[in-house]
């Protein structure tokens, strides 16, 4: 790692070193970028990371499969429920179990609300960074409703821990559906309003058009996934390409951009919010009563009333808490389409109570690794726009 202190050569030249972050309002989380400038033009940008590294993967090796769920909340903390869902899907793949239909539907429902909440943060804060404060306020009102919905479902706004291996922690309450219905109407209006404020706004257009452009081949080579890859013109969406949780039964489109610049990423995210609203509408229409967790007491805890009244259930409860699930020996990689892109979990099991190795594939790490090439030759203000559109979340980046 080259030293932050100025070298002789740098002192002699016209280059200036500017530290952006690790605590700067436009670095989302604790990101640190050392910019090398010539005038106001960026010659080199070296991202430094690890300020939020908590060793999640190491901790996971020493926790049981069930205990790892709260740690997934803290990956992408803007849409923690999606991480819960992604992780639970991975363990269920390892176990080879299918979860009940209602659990799948509710997972899709909360995932899409989380996707909207995440895109709201990304688009809204990107606009704030560039100087458009208004859109942020209109959108954040909807984000509050989304978090109210999470609170209703999981009891927590941010760190939801909503899923369990084999289903969900609990069913959604009665008041959830009416609020979600209201959210559908109001969020649709807010997204329209945001588009009226930004899409045809000449300042927004000039600040974002052509900034951070990337070709499809380059984007694939850099390992882009999610909205950033789709903005570059690759229609890759795991919900369509490798459907999970019954996504193949929902009717929705995958928006695709052409140039991959900040403007296209914004357009893709806005359209994805609309498509997510469409999916939520369909889930609410087909939501039917039923169990929300698998009826297998070797995987999921038996209901409390049975534990208190029946010997067998008490034994199951005790076995599950003390010895964990009986895991097969093997390795799986399971990926879900999170708000930022492909969130993958690679689990290696040696048959023990704890995973032998647990790997989180963060979607924003490969995207962020291209930051230097994205901003080379741009101005600092463009770097801020690119950083916002990449939607780098430090919790997920550093793990």
């Amino acid at each position: 790692m080259e030293s932050i202190a100025l070298s002789r050569q740098q002192l002699d030249g016209d280059r200036m070193i500017v530290n952006m972050g690790p605590s700067h309002p436009t670095t989302h989380g604790t990101l640190h970028i050392v910019l090398e400038l010539e005038g106001e033009t960026i010659v080199k940008a070296s991202p430094r990371m690890g300020y939020l590294h908590r060793g999640v993967e190491k901790l996971g090796e020493n926790l049981s499969y069930q205990q790892f769920i709260p740690l997934t909340d803290r990956l992408n903390y803007c849409s923690s429920i999606m991480n819960n869902v992604g992780y639970a899907c991975a363990v269920e793949k390892l176990l080879g179990i299918e979860i009940p239909r209602r659990a799948q539907q509710i997972r899709v429902l909360v995932s899409e609300i989380a996707r909207i909440a995440d895109h709201i943060v990304c688009v809204g804060v990107n606009a704030v960074d560039i100087g458009a404060f208004t859109a942020f306020l209109y959108l954040f009102k909807q984000r509050e409703t989304a978090y109210d919905l999470f609170e209703m479902a999981a009891g927590q706004r941010l760190h939801t821990s909503f899923t369990r291996i084999g289903g969900l922690f609990r069913d959604i309450p009665e008041a959830f559906v009416p609020l979600a219905e209201r959210f559908l109407v109001e969020c649709e209006a807010a997204v329209d309003e945001c588009e009226r404020l930004l899409t045809h706004n000449p300042i927004w257009y000039n600040r974002t058009k052509g900034v951070g452009a990337i070709t499809a081949e380059e984007a694939i080579n850099w390992g882009y996934t999610g909205p950033c890859l789709r903005a570059a013109g690759v229609p890759q969406d795991l919900r369509k390409a490798q459907p999970y949780l019954g996504y193949e039964t929902y009717d929705f489109d995958v928006p695709v951009g052409t140039t991959g610049d900040v403007f296209d990423r914004y357009l893709v995210r806005v359209e994805e919010m609309r498509q997510s609203l469409r999916i939520i509408r369909q889930v609410l229409d087909r939501l039917e009563p039923g169990p929300i967790i698998v009826d297998d007491y070797k995987v999921a805890l038996p209901p409390k009333e049975k534990v208190y009244t029946r010997m067998e259930s008490l034994i199951h409860h005790f076995k599950l808490i003390m010895h964990g699930m009986e895991m097969p020996v093997g390795e799986v990689y399971s990926a879900t389409e999170a708000a930022n892109g492909e969130l993958g979990f690679y689990l290696v099991s040696d048959g023990g109570k704890n995973p032998y190795r647990i790997r989180v594939r963060p979607p924003c790490l490969p995207i962020y690794s291209s930051f230097d090439t994205q901003v080379k030759g741009c101005l600092i203000a463009d770097a801020v726009a690119v950083l916002g559109a990449m939607n780098v979340i430090a919790g997920e980046l550093d793990r």
């Binding site: 990371m49 690890g50 060793g55 190491k58 080579n221 850099w222 390992g223 690794s369």
Partner: protein, 169 residues
């Protein structure tokens, strides 16, 4: 999916040392000497998205009487056919794996991360430095012999893991 592995086997006989499938995930094991041939073939076959690159530590493992401590694990995705393939490259402690940076730019940070957390070197990487921890960090955090509480990272007492493989880089 089997087609791809058959194809690799036909094109490069003997390169696939081992293979298995579990829950629909296909895995092949490749020796590090012939790894780049496989990578080039996979790239031509359409596996152009290197989704993930990581490693697994098996401290006591031996293959054919030789200690082979690590598996470097690559996950590829074929965007056209949506097939996934996992490639594992076993390496001993202290051995280097060929770097993929010249072929896949994604590999840059992923390889740095694996170097940081496992201490596996990648031959040909232009800038193999620690990614998540700091330069002087003692040991490699994801090795199984690294203490969970991290030991004392500032004075290195109580840390049993080798100190950067004996190098100060």
């Amino acid at each position: 999916m089997d087609m791809v592995i058959e194809h690799i086997d036909a094109q490069l006989p003997g390169v696939v040392v081992d293979r298995h499938a579990f829950r629909g995930d296909q895995t092949i094991v490749v020796a590090k000497e012939r790894f780049l041939e496989v990578v080039d073939l996979l790239h031509r076959e359409g596996f152009q998205l290197l989704v993930d690159l990581t490693a697994v530590d098996w401290p006591e493992r031996e293959l054919d009487g030789k200690p082979v401590r690590f598996d470097v694990v690559y996950h590829w995705l074929n965007l056209a056919s949506q097939e996934r393939l996992r490639v594992k490259v076993p390496v001993a402690d202290g051995e280097a794996v060929p770097s993929l940076v010249s072929r896949f730019k994604t590999a840059d940070w992923f390889e740095r991360e694996v170097f940081d957390l496992f201490g596996i070197r990648f031959e040909g990487h232009p800038n193999l430095e620690r990614l998540l921890t700091w330069e002087d960090f003692p040991g490699h955090a994801l090795r199984k012999d690294f203490p969970l509480d991290g030991g004392d990272p500032f004075c290195m007492e109580g840390c049993t893991a080798p100190y950067n493989n004996g190098e100060r880089n």
